[in-house]
Amino acid sequence: MVLYKQELKSNLKGFLIWFLVIVGMCFGCILLYSSVESSLSDMGDIFAKMGVMSKAFGMDRLSVATMAGYFATEIAMLHALGGGMFAAILGSNLLCKEEFGHTIEYLAVLPLSRAAVLVQKYLAMVSMLLCFQVIGILCYLGGFAIMGEKISAEHLWTMGVTQFLMMLEIGTICYCVSAFSRKNRMGAGLGIAMIFFAMDILCRVIPAIEDSKYVTPFYYCNATDIFTDVKLSAASIVIAAGVIIISLILTVWHYLRKDLQ
């Protein structure tokens, strides 16, 4: 697992930057709750009556004036978007960086099969996404404890697990993109994450495209749905698993056959 360790090491700086920015911002927002609580209680009703905007962000079901509502509609969304973008950047760079960085001749002539390269790099990505989620959720639990606020740990961990699945799905799609490319595909990765995010908001307010909720991974990890006990869509989870498996099959199929240069 030498390559696995090397990948963790080389991506550590990026991980720390994304983690500190996203989780740090979310953690700060939790700590700020008491100071904005009074103004939020005045705004709660206004936010709930903004028509499609309220529907899109779930503020018609959860009041931002409560800690759970404030967390689910604001903080968790920020965490999901940041996590999705981090997964996209990570996945879209993992394989093709060896070719555009010209390090492929250093790596590919070491006694490692291409399959081993794929497995170790993918595991490194999964590990980083897992750390992002687990440490992030623990930080939020710590934040709630500091603030003396009670929030359902079950809801929080459900959110954490589904968001991890979302990050894994986006990361795996981008990993596949990375296998097919010889150029830096960070832009494409970010584009994929942003399109999925926009799709989640739009499918909630435009009935004509409601079915796209099965396509976007941001739908099944929506914190407002989780905190209002909306049943997790089994179809969405099955589709997510299918997308991950198909992306991995395509990645392996192409990477084992391609010319590395």
């Binding site: 030498v2 090397q6 010209h102 001749e105 250093y106 391609k258 240069q261």
Partner: protein
């Protein structure tokens, strides 16, 4: 005839519609120092990349160290020391990290050998690789290729970027390993280093092998690049006749300057190429 360290049969590798190599066959005996000559774009790197599994070839069969290159790639790479024409490493690594990483993947402790190599190549192991010049990156690459004492060296344009002193040290190391049994296959477009160090060589041009022979036979063209000023007139030509005759001819003239040197590789190629066409 000994066993072959490298055996290539009818290798064909194209990149889409672009030509790589066509129907190439060659064999390198164990313990040989073998030169692979050709101009840029001739197919040298494609051949090497096919041998190492970087390029997936369409036709042919490659056997390295008695093992099929497709089926036993990992085992082959374990016993091969490869040096690419342009050496790149992960920028966040220090020289010592890049060297140790290559040893760690092989699950070997190569510290004694790598320390010896770094000392002889005057390599500062505490520098970050992103700060290194091409020459110093090549030195790191040499250490990575040699530290595990492989059975086969494959070098792609090994001396480009190295200063003459380091080139000499590099070949000294190659010869020392060769004396201990390591086969060396090196691609180059520098005729003089092939002439000086290799016993056999192949010449490749436009993806096809033109000729394979001992270096002695290949360079027996008598061709010399002559530049002179005769009777006040500058002349520049390739001379393929008897040198004594040339000197006798020059003796009857007022020669103010004369340089007789090895022809450029391209000029030697033309010789073989013309032969190929007339066949």
């Amino acid at each position: 005839m000994g066993k072959y360290a490298i055996e290539i049969k009818n290798l064909t590798k194209n990149y889409g519609k672009n030509r790589g190599v066509t129907n190439l066959s060659m064999a390198v005996e164990e313990g040989d120092v073998y030169g692979f000559l050709g101009p840029n774009g001739a197919g040298k790197s494609t051949t090497i990349r096919s041998m190492l599994g970087l390029a997936r070839y369409q036709e042919g069969e490659i056997t390295l160290l008695g093992m099929n290159a497709r089926e036993h790639q990992v085992e082959i790479l374990r016993q091969v020391g490869y040096m690419p024409s342009e050496a790149w490493f992960y920028p966040e690594m220090k020289v010592k990290d890049a060297i140790r990483y290559a040893a760690d993947v092989r699950k070997l402790d190569c510290r004694t050998e790598s320390e010896m190599l770094c000392e002889r190549l005057q390599l500062d192991v505490n520098k970050k690789v992103e700060e290194l010049s091409l020459g110093n990156r090549k030195k790191v690459s040499i250490v990575c290729a040699m530290q595990h004492k492989p059975a086969l060296f494959i070098f792609d344009e090994p001396t480009s970027g190295l200063d003459p002193l380091m080139q000499a040290e590099f070949f000294k190391l190659v010869m020392e390993y060769n004396a201990k049994g390591t086969t060396c296959f090196l691609s180059s477009h520098v005729l003089s280093e092939i002439k000086k160090y290799c016993r056999h060589a192949s010449i490749i041009r436009e993806g096809k092998l033109i000729r394979t022979d001992t270096v002695e036979n290949l360079t027996k063209t008598n061709a010399k690049h002559v530049r002179l000023v005769r009777d006040g007139i500058e002349e520049d030509f390739i001379y393929r006749g008897n040198l004594n005759e040339l000197l006798r001819d020059l003796a009857g003239h007022d020669v103010s300057d004369v340089v007789i040197e090895e022809p450029e590789l391209e000029e030697v190629f033309m010789h073989f190429y013309e032969e190929e066409i007339t066949k």
